[in-house]
């Protein structure tokens, strides 16, 4: 292992370059959107060349997908962490929803995950990323809550995406400057309404 500044292993070079490209891409995609961000501008901002980009990613979309996957992973982890700290099935739901809203407050996340991703990646590809993470967790949480009698029996396959969409819009509202407290209140009211008892 040389300590000389100029020498780096291939693994290091790859990781550094990939991280650099993904970080720069995230910033530009958030600021200008996917379509309006050209690869020449992107590599210039990153201080590298287009050759490096196309060496590490099949095309512009693959780079975007890498950005989105990293974002989705971060959100999923935040939710699972909150999930672990809850007791009852209903509490897990409420805590998960809360954690989702908090995680999505990270600047740019709503634009990447909720605006650009659906249009750039197909619905299919987007599902592969989002669905195997957040949505699956939510589905399990709902099933558990219904099983436990905490929630009205409703078709989870339909309910989960719909609730998920509600959470997403709440996150967008918060990103757009709405009262965080109001957003959380409404989301909790929505879930509470499904208990059939109507209390919070």
């Amino acid at each position: 292992m040389q300590v000389k500044s100029g020498r780096r292993s291939n693994a290091e070079r790859t990781r550094a370059m990939r991280d650099r490209l993904v970080a720069t891409a995230r910033a530009l995609f958030v600021a200008q959107g996917y379509a309006e961000t050209s690869t020449p501008a992107l590599v210039t901002a990153a201080g590298v060349t287009r050759g490096a980009l196309y060496h590490h990613f099949a095309d512009k979309r693959a780079l975007f997908r890498a950005v989105v996957e990293a974002e989705a992973e971060a959100v999923a982890q935040a939710i699972e962490a909150a999930d672990d700290r809850a007791e009852s099935a209903l509490d897990r739901l409420l805590a998960g929803a809360d954690a989702y809203l908090t995680a999505m407050a990270e600047p740019g996340r709503t634009r990447l995950l909720l605006v650009e991703a659906p249009a750039v990646l197909g619905e299919a590809e987007r599902r592969c990323i989002e669905d195997t993470r957040g949505d699956a967790t939510l589905r399990e949480g709902l099933e558990a809550a219904i099983e436990a009698g905490a929630l009205r029996p409703l078709p989870v396959a339909v309910l989960a995406p719909i609730l998920s969409a509600a959470f997403e819009r709440a996150a967008e509202s918060m990103a757009a400057g709405a009262e965080p407290a109001a957003c959380r209140t409404v989301v909790r009211a929505l879930i509470a309404g499904l208990t059939g008892r109507g209390d919070t």
Copy 2:
């Protein structure tokens, strides 16, 4: 006004050309998405030239906006029609939600309005189209229902977009082949939960 076959007034020519371009654009945007639809391919499909396109629309986005506005208008009309037939504030809400789901079942509508439009038009422009129509109606409906004591008092400014998103996802699920009955059940349950009584 000549009746000779080859002779058409300018107004007729304009309307025919615009309609033709919008109809063709809708089909292609639905089938391949906005970004993957090139203007050369579009005008070829329409049997006209790019000159005609850029004569009637400032740019590709303007054509897309025309398509989206037409879709949004159709949805808004369907909702208002259903609204007029309802009695109580709560009934208007439920009828409006139902009408929304039915209207959004029109093939391609979810992709245009919910996937492509947010990414292609800014959130700002999209709001101008969607918000001044569907969302405003929903907001008024919610305010009326809360005023009448039919719904729990919640911040409408936040609740309306969130409910709207839930409806939208329900529409997408239906477009993707989910049980229409299940979708309607869930949507109604969501609204019912907000009454604070929990019944349908």
